[in-house]
């Protein structure tokens, strides 16, 4: 069977006015909100549970279950925080979603906030995307004006404030507890869990943190029913999702498909690896997910199958690298990113990423040997399970997986006394000559 695409979130992105309220309404926008506000909040939570929607921000926690953890009748304010910090290397789906259809996110946020009985919601968008910030600001302003936000929304008696908050540049602030600390006006350091945000989140009050794509999936679930959503995808990884292809692929971009599609199928849709080249390695879900190789072309891109094959679904950020790419260079660069972004709170991550950069740098220059590979694996071993937050776990993913699949290539650098690859051959513009 050839795979087909299922545009839902992406279905109206080709309307040049897609980001405007009137265009969004013409496409059926805000009808799900009207339906939701006429439904008891608990039924909305039940519907999202039934859909099987699992968090699209990387960890895959069931969204309806998370909403169900919010205590009710506790007398405390509840908060919804939309995680729009998209900074995981390779991940590039939430940003185009907010650029094209910010109202989809706003509508989803109002429904989610209503379901968990929140009085104030926040969209925490990374600061380095100015036009996206503008579009979200405008959508929120339009929604207030149209009565989808503010007091007595659509005459339902439900009140909600929605604040757009621009971050200031820190990858760690995408981690949900660090995000909350940052939103409170502090350095974005993570917090110990438990307590989970559902119990003690923003200002120590019950809080749901959800990814942009998770929240944007909610209006279609409310409109079409949980069973409709659950009818797509695989048994345990239900629904559709955006797959982001980048790198050495003929047609990079966003491809929305049911979970469970394979890279072979996606590459087929995207015109294959760039002409004249072949697949060497790829990330299934961003740089924090262990790399795959051409052995993994047929692994279904769902939570279970990617895990069984030794990686993770993550954010479905498929960075494709062909045979012109030096894996040592790639991994060194990722590691420098983690080193730079490590918040420094815990020693294994702070020190580990520092030493790994030194070792990888030596290896890339041909000065490292087999012993250095063992040292790298040793550091990873020491970090594994001892780091305070998942950034540290993410940092070891590229290192361990690349040594697993490409040990010889690391050693080849030593034999040759340098990198055997020509970086110009890997570029977008260098291959033409």
């Amino acid at each position: 069977m050839t795979a087909t695409l299922t545009p839902v979130l992406t279905a109206h992105w080709d309307d040049p006015d897609a980001f405007r309220l009137d265009a969004y309404r013409r496409a059926g926008g805000y009808q799900a909100l009207a339906k939701a506000l006429a439904t008891p909040p608990d039924d909305i939570i039940a519907m999202v549970k039934e859909s099987g929607l699992r968090g699209r921000g990387g960890a895959g926690f069931p969204t309806g279950v998370k909403w169900g953890f919010i205590p009710q009748g506790d007398g405390k304010p509840h908060y919804l925080v939309v995680n729009a910090d998209e900074s995981e290397p390779g991940t590039c789906k939430d940003i185009p979603l907010m650029l094209a259809t910010p109202h989809l996110l706003v509508e989803g946020a109002v429904i989610a906030a209503y379901a968990i009985r929140a009085e104030h919601a926040f969209i925490y968008v990374r600061g380095e995307v100015l036009h996206v910030v503008r579009r979200v600001q405008q959508a929120v302003a339009e929604a207030y004006q149209a009565g989808y936000l503010g007091r007595d929304i659509l005459g339902s008696g439900y009140d909600l404030e929605l604040t757009v908050h621009a971050g200031a540049g820190a990858y760690e602030c995408g981690e949900e507890t660090a995000l909350l600390t940052s939103l409170e006006g502090y350095r974005g350091l993570p917090r110990l869990k438990p307590p989970f945000p559902a119990v003690a989140g923003l200002y120590a009050c019950p809080t749901v943190v959800n990814n942009v794509e998770s929240i944007a999936s909610v209006p279609s679930i409310v409109a079409n029913g949980g069973r409709w959503f659950a009818g797509l995808g695989t048994e345990k990884s239900k629904g559709y999702g955006i797959f982001s292809l980048s790198g050495h692929v003929t047609k990079p971009g966003q491809y929305e498909a049911p979970l469970g599609i394979t890279l072979r199928e996606l590459l087929d849709l995207a015109g294959g690896v760039r002409a004249g080249h072949r697949l060497k390695f790829w990330t299934p879900g961003g740089s924090s997910t262990p790399i795959f190789t051409d052995e993994h072309l047929d692994v279904p891109m769902d939570f279970e199958s990617t895990a069984a094959a030794g990686s993770m679904l993550g954010t479905r950020a498929l960075q494709i690298f062909d045979e012109t790419t030096c894996v040592v260079r790639a991994v060194l660069r990722w590691n420098q990113f983690y080193e730079h972004e490590s918040c420094g709170k815990c020693t294994p991550c702070r020190e580990g990423t520092f030493w790994m950069t030194l070792l990888l740098d030596g290896l890339e220059r041909g000065e490292g040997n087999e012993e250095d590979l063992e040292k790298l694996l040793d550091i990873c071993d020491n970090m594994n399970g001892r780091v305070f937050c998942p950034l540290g776990d993410g940092a070891i993913s590229p290192v361990v997986s690349s040594i697993k699949y490409f040990r010889d290539e690391f050693l080849e650098h030593h034999k040759r006394g340098g990198c055997p690859f020509d970086p110009a051959a890997a570029t977008l513009f260098g291959d033409a000559q």
């Binding site: 695409l5 545009p7 992406t10 279905a11 992105w13 080709d14 040049p16 897609a18 980001f19 405007r20 339906k35 519907m47 039934e50 900074s87 995981e88 290397p89 390779g90 991940t91 590039c92 185009p96 650029l99 094209a100 990374r126 600061g127 380095e128 995307v129 100015l130 036009h131 503008r134 405008q138 302003a141 604040t163 621009a166 200031a168 540049g169 940052s182 409170e184 006006g185 502090y186 350095r187 974005g188 029913g225 069973r227 009818g231 797509l232 559709y240 292809l245 980048s246 790198g247 990079p252 971009g253 966003q254 990722w334 990113f337 730079h340 970086p423 110009a424 570029t427 977008l428 513009f429």
Partner: protein, 229 residues
């Protein structure tokens, strides 16, 4: 030198508005820092002191926050912040060559500013535009699928006082200070400019349209809970 009364009055009005967006005032700190950056082009000692004063924090507390976040400049810089993505994917697709070429062309290294005060060169991390690699961000607007040639052309235009139009952004490129003001939550009226989506964003949707692929229709309409019963 602390802000003049006139500047302070203007900042106060904006700061009041920012603080009112949050249930607790301290949450306004990041936006206030964007605001003082919009005023001076960087977060000066005075700017940080102003934020501290408005929120009842110590200056040390504010300094700790400023240093944590990469978007706050701690010294003056250029009107245009040219950030070349050199995270792995962009680096390999040509970001490294672009940064090297710009550095040579401008005669400045990363985090340095050209003598005319126009361009601060930076390397930036993944900017969520990998499907347009290699990417250059000018004052946080997207310039997609760059080459060393096109990047040199871009900075030449900037230094000549022109405003090259971003690939997916407004018709009029903001200065660094104007951009910071938008980040502080004061829209500049340019949200309606530019495309809804760039070509790579639409790659999958175009293919679906060509082939007539759509998501399945819901089976039973009029089933509000979707429970099927």
């Amino acid at each position: 030198m602390p802000f003049s009364d006139e500047v302070r009055a203007r900042l106060d009005a904006d700061a009041d508005q920012i603080i009112s967006r949050y249930p607790r005032s301290r949450s306004a700190l990041l936006s206030l820092l964007h605001l003082v950056q919009a005023e001076e082009g960087y977060v000066s000692k005075d700017g940080a002191a102003y934020c501290a004063d408005r929120l009842g924090l110590s200056e040390t507390e504010v300094a700790g926050v400023v240093s944590y976040y990469s978007m706050y400049r701690r010294r003056p810089g250029g009107d245009y912040n040219v950030g070349v993505c050199t995270n792995t994917l962009c680096a390999i697709m040509g970001g490294d060559q672009i940064l090297a070429s710009l550095s040579e062309h401008l005669g400045v290294g990363p985090d340095e500013t050209t003598p005319d005060g126009m361009v601060t060169l930076q390397h930036v991390e993944c900017n969520a535009a990998c499907d347009y690699a290699p990417v250059v961000m000018v004052n946080w607007e997207f310039y997609d699928n760059m080459t060393p040639d096109s990047a040199r052309g871009l900075v030449d235009e900037l230094r000549a006082g022109e405003k090259p139009v971003p690939s997916r952004g407004p018709a009029r490129l903001c200065t660094w200070r104007e951009a910071a003001r938008v980040l502080a939550g004061f829209p500049d009226g340019q949200a309606g400019d530019g495309p809804a989506a760039g070509p790579a964003t639409l790659a999958g949707l175009m293919l679906a349209r060509e082939n007539g692929w759509t998501a399945p229709e819901p089976a039973a309409k009029g089933d509000p809970a979707g429970s099927g019963q």
